[in-house]
Amino acid sequence: MRWPLRVWVTVGLLVFFHFLLHLGLGFGNIAPDLLTISLLLAAREVGMGTAAGIGFVFGLLIDAFNLLAFGTNTVAMTAVGGAAARTRDLFVGDSFFFVVSYLFLGKWVKDLLRWILAGEGVREPFFQALLVQSSLNAAYVAIVGVLVVTITGAWRGSLR
């Protein structure tokens, strides 16, 4: 399969499986955040604006079920999408360590932004929400993300 096509097929499949696992089959937090992985993968292929646009759409889709704080995911994913696209200009990103850090930080920063925007009444305490839950979720995303790019080869350049 040609290079860009492989990435976009992977991104599309991740989005589909994210909603199938979380919403269709109701696995909830047991299933990894494949939407963030797909955003982070797509962001490495496009410009900052396009990545922000993808993040905007993804965030809106998640916020469709977010009565507690509508818009928090939209803002967080838009910002993360834009910032993730910018990393291509700063890092070559062909090392295993970079991919793991990129996925881990991408997910963690997204959760951080969401936590900040959510407001006092809705969010959990910082320690539990970010240091415990988000860190575990980010590690989960990093592991699954590395597996995905290893299996599909949807990462520009070979990992060292």
């Binding site: 909603f19 199938l20 979380h22 919403l23 269709g24 089959l25 109701g26 696995f27 909830g28 937090n29 299933a31 955040d33 410009g47 900052m48 604006g49 396009t50 990545a51 922000a52 646009g53 993040g55 905007f56 965030g59 809106l60 889709l61 998640i62 916020d63 469709a64 079920f65 977010n66 009565l67 507690l68 704080a69 509508f70 818009g71 928090t72 995911n73 939209t74 803002v75 838009t78 910002a79 834009g82 696209a85 969401r114 925007l117 959510a118 009444g121 809705v122 959990e124 305490p125 539990q128």
Partner: protein, 354 residues
Amino acid sequence: MPAYTSETVDTSGRRQAMVTVLFLAAALVMFYLPASTQQQVSAALRGTVLMPFVTVQKAVLTFRSRAGDSDWLRKQLDSLVAVTVAEGGLAEENRRLRQMLELSRKLGPTFVSATLVRAGTTGSESTFLVDVGSAKEIHSNAPIITSQGLLGVVRDVRIDHAVGMDWTHPDFRASAMTADGATYGVVESRSGLFREEDRLVLDGTAFHTRVEDGTVVLTSGLGGVFPRGIPIGLVVGQAEAEGGWRRSYWLRPLVEPGVATHVLVAMGNAADGTMDLSPVWPADAVMTEEQLAAWDQARRDSLDALGDSLLVMKGMVGGLEPGDGLGRRESSGVRSVPARPAALESGVSDLIRR
């Protein structure tokens, strides 16, 4: 002198940065939109792009229910005595459905049954979808109940579905009273360190009244949202006492949001607070999920023991051959009771099936 970077690269970079800023601004606009507009946007997304996934979850729930029913029928046909451990989940769902049917019969046409679907996405905690909407006369703020008591309330209504929040939602409030009507207050949700620690609190009760542990707390009907008499929880201790004028109590919720899949939603004006549902839940029927599970297990054990006893009796009665006392009486011309009466046979078979 030529520029270090080409004009095309510069322009493209600037354009991308501008687009990013535009999307960020759009995202912030979404964040600050009025709640009604936000709900319209979410409803539009739920009704279009995400509809197939919601439908899949409904289909999965229906499939599980049907699997439970067919398994139950198969067990009847096979006259199995023991219920295996693996069938515990299905039996549990069957029990819940039977309770919902019973509750629905008691409540009459003021409530409509619905299937509850949880999104499971980030930020959708404490909220869920029910597959009934304004087409079935569901209104905003309609109470959502299970056979155990109050689960939550409807927040947003569409034609064919509605979005509700359960009692773990930070905005959940219910005007409440103790079962004897002596103490009134407001029940609200208190977040724990983790989601599993979310609890209910009966707040704003008068300081001079004392509520004992185990007291049942019901909706009071004040405020016009919830009908009077829906169980909410049991008092499990005092939370705080302030300044000699107010006490609050921790409640053990009667409904576990995580296990609720089939619910009843109030229709029309059933939620206007004038209805009294106290007779629907008599005092001995108010139980927590754990108490209910223990009670159900005890009932099963009793039935199993009774079934075993009847099996032993059946064996003993069946072992009476024509050569013994009964046979001799018959041979001597005295008409005796049949050795295995038909009523006993059918009773034994019925118990074995159960």
